[in-house]
């Protein structure tokens, strides 16, 4: 079987040194932009609308306190004092100067981080649930197998020239937080009737220009069969995937054009051929990787201090109710720190805030932080007795907004405020929606509602799977926003449906407000969420709320 390589410190340092020389040669004129561009992109350096942007990978969204503190230092020293956490579990620095980037990369390497981008048509970064290893409902921690897949796919000689890039996500929990159905391959760890752990394999999901929900290719693949099975899928795709048209090259189109049954049959055949070539080394490796992801030593539950604060302090209670999730260890909680303070930029954290998060992780959180694709920061392992102190520290830092999963917890891509590919802005739309619903004091009454905004068809803001999705477009030189409803990124993922004509920049917030008021009128009771109401009633009543007034006004005019 194939033997593995890994990023190590020496490799990263060497790449930084190379890039330092390349930057110098670009500045002194010996490299042209055509020569330099692929080199800078490989090192995570993009040229955006107003400046360069450095994108730094956060594998599995996992960081320790020291790493977070270093990101704060970088933000302060070479940027404008903040960083932007993205929907792809990266951090972006929006204002680096070309000359400083090698120093920034060296500072990242000091804490075992890098901005190296896997590029080309290969198997890209494997993503996993941001509650991995902590969630109460988890069948198993998805990170060991995600890491195994990463090692198996890195430099895999057969898969360096796939028809197109290829993304894999793994969740260990039935409440799919890794949006596995929107990936080329989505893996869901399940237990069969005999109690064995295995994988439900989805294939052919993806957002972007042709959004599709992944289809189940196999309900149960055993752990020992997983890598040969994945290899079989990628091999079938490698042969069958279209290379004539970039927009038709992803496996979602291959599945769509050939049908899931045909793909399944081909994969089974290929699997039989490949299975015997796997000697079981992969299973030994998995065992070794698992040891690295061993959970911290949890203390016995002591919740008296927590119970008291919860009973007496309504602000604390609201924070706990909204921003914490059930932990697998008794007496523990998972804390989601919202980077969506009303009116602020979704996903942005100042250097000072990053330092507070680093401190809290080190003092109370087993030195672990996670970044979620929903652009929030997570303290995955917190003893409940520490929650009052954590809440107090977060409040002082402007990080205690109790809105996780609510209308103002909006995902928004950078859009035309930064992104060179954008067709419209997304950040100010998110800011205005959050501010508006905060003014109305309706947020907690409205309950669970996911709004997701993208500034172009590339869908980095995952608008297709927002309960309310907003897509910013350029319509004849004016910003125009299309609305989709009923999208869902969870276990039963659905692509949202378009409501009709889009709305101008100054009309989109009132339009969203009309939708939400319609929901409040239509729901059976407080328990019925926006999504459930939409599923029960369909598009019509929401469409009426969106457009009828307008038509009446147009008729009157």
């Amino acid at each position: 079987m194939y033997s593995y390589t890994d990023f190590d410190e020496a490799f990263v340092r060497e790449r930084v040194a190379q890039f330092r020389a390349q930057v110098e040669r670009r500045i002194d004129g010996s490299l042209t932009e055509d020569e330099f561009k692929p080199l800078r992109l490989m090192n995570g350096l993009y040229l955006q609308l107003h400046a360069y942007m450095l994108r730094v990978a956060i594998p599995y969204g996992t960081l320790n306190g020291r790493q977070m503190r270093q990101l704060a230092m970088i933000a302060r020293r070479w940027d404008k004092g903040y960083g932007h956490f993205t929907t792809r579990q990266n951090i972006q620095f929006n204002w680096p100067e070309l000359r400083d980037v090698p120093d920034m990369l060296d500072a990242l390497a000091d804490v075992q981080m890098h901005a190296i981008q896997t590029s080309g048509n290969t198997i890209r970064n494997v993503t996993a649930d941001h509650f991995a290893g902590a969630a109460e409902d988890e069948v198993a921690d998805p990170r060991p197998v995600a890491e195994l897949i990463r090692q198996w796919s890195t430099d895999h000689p057969e898969f360096q020239f796939l028809p197109r890039k290829f993304k894999v996500a793994v969740t260990g929990s039935p409440d799919d937080r890794a949006v596995t159905a929107a990936h080329d391959i989505g893996l869901r760890i399940v237990r069969n009737e005999e109690g064995q752990i295995g994988y439900r394999v989805l294939v052919g999901g993806g957002l972007g220009r042709t959004p599709m929900i992944g289809k189940v290719l196999n309900d149960f693949v055993s752990e020992a069969d997983l890598l040969p099975y994945l290899e079989a899928i990628v091999a079938v795709y490698n042969l069958l995937g279209r290379r004539d048209n970039k927009y038709k090259a992803r496996i979602k189109i291959t599945v769509h054009e050939n049908g899931i049954e045909d793909i399944a049959a081909r994969v089974d055949e290929e699997f039989t051929r490949r299975k015997s070539l796997f000697s079981g080394v992969d299973q030994e490796m998995l065992t070794a990787i698992r040891a690295q992801f061993a959970p911290p030593a949890f203390e016995a539950p002591q919740t008296a201090a927590f119970d008291l604060a919860f009973a007496e302090n309504p602000v604390f209670r609201s924070f706990v109710d909204t921003n914490t999730a059930a932990h697998r260890a008794p007496g523990y909680a998972i804390v989601t720190v919202s980077l969506k303070a009303h009116g602020k930029t979704p996903g942005d954290a100042t250097a000072a805030q990053m330092e507070v998060l680093a401190d809290l992780a080190e003092r109370y959180g087993h030195d672990e932080l996670r970044i979620s694709h929903e652009q929030n920061v997570i303290l995955p392992h917190v003893a409940k007795r520490h929650l009052p102190a954590i809440h107090a520290a977060l409040s002082t830092a402007g990080l205690a907004t109790a809105n996780v999963g609510l209308v103002s917890d909006i995902i928004a891509c950078p859009g035309m405020d930064y992104c060179a590919l954008a067709t419209a802005r997304s950040i100010p739309v998110a800011q205005q929606i959050a501010t508006r619903f905060d003014e109305l004091k309706l947020e907690h009454d409205i309950g669970a509602l996911k709004i997701k905004i993208s500034g172009c068809i590339n869908a980095c803001g995952h608008h297709h799977v927002g309960h309310i999705g907003i897509l910013g477009l350029d319509r004849a030189g004016v910003e125009n926003y299309q609305i989709t409803l009923g999208g869902d990124g969870g276990p039963d993922a659905v692509i949202g449906e378009r409501t009709g004509p889009g709305f101008a920049y100054d009309q989109i917030v009132p339009a969203i407000e009309r939708l939400v008021y319609a929901y409040l009128d239509l729901r059976e009771d407080r328990e019925e969420t926006f999504l459930e109401t939409y599923r029960r009633l369909g598009m019509e009543p929401f469409k009426a709320a969106l457009y009828e007034d307008e038509e009446a006004r147009a008729d009157a005019a």
Binding site: R26, I27, D28, G29, T32, E33, L47, Q48, L49, H50, A51, Y52, K80, N94, W95, E97, L98, R99, T345, M416, D417, Y418, A422, R425, I427, P428, Q431, D474, G477, V478, E479
Partner: protein, 99 residues
């Protein structure tokens, strides 16, 4: 009938800072669109662009952007170009910071 030519400015990003720059009539680069050369003739625009693209050790990604004459000099036409003259709308960063 050929479409009438919309006036243009040559714009790019500065190599070192990435900041938006415009080509002036005297061949210098300016950070302010008002100081840019407004090119009214298509053939001249193409030549000016070619000149700019040859200056790859100063700027990156030169292109022609639609512009119109204003009281203080050229003004952007499209909203994307208007944002490029200012900076992002969520912070007072970029050009608007010094303005």
């Amino acid at each position: 009938m050929p479409r009438p030519f919309t006036p243009k400015v040559v714009t790019a990003n500065a190599l070192l800072e990435g900041d938006v720059v415009y080509l002036k009539a005297d061949d210098g680069w300016t950070r302010r669109i008002e100081e840019a050369e407004l090119i009214e003739d298509e053939a001249i625009a193409d030549i000016r662009l070619l000149d700019a693209q040859r200056r790859g050790s100063e700027v990156v990604g030169a292109y022609l952007a639609d512009a119109k004459a204003g009281p203080n000099g050229p003004e952007p036409v499209h909203f994307r170009e208007a944002f490029r003259t200012r900076g992002p709308s969520n912070y007072n960063h970029g050009k608007q910071e010094g303005a």
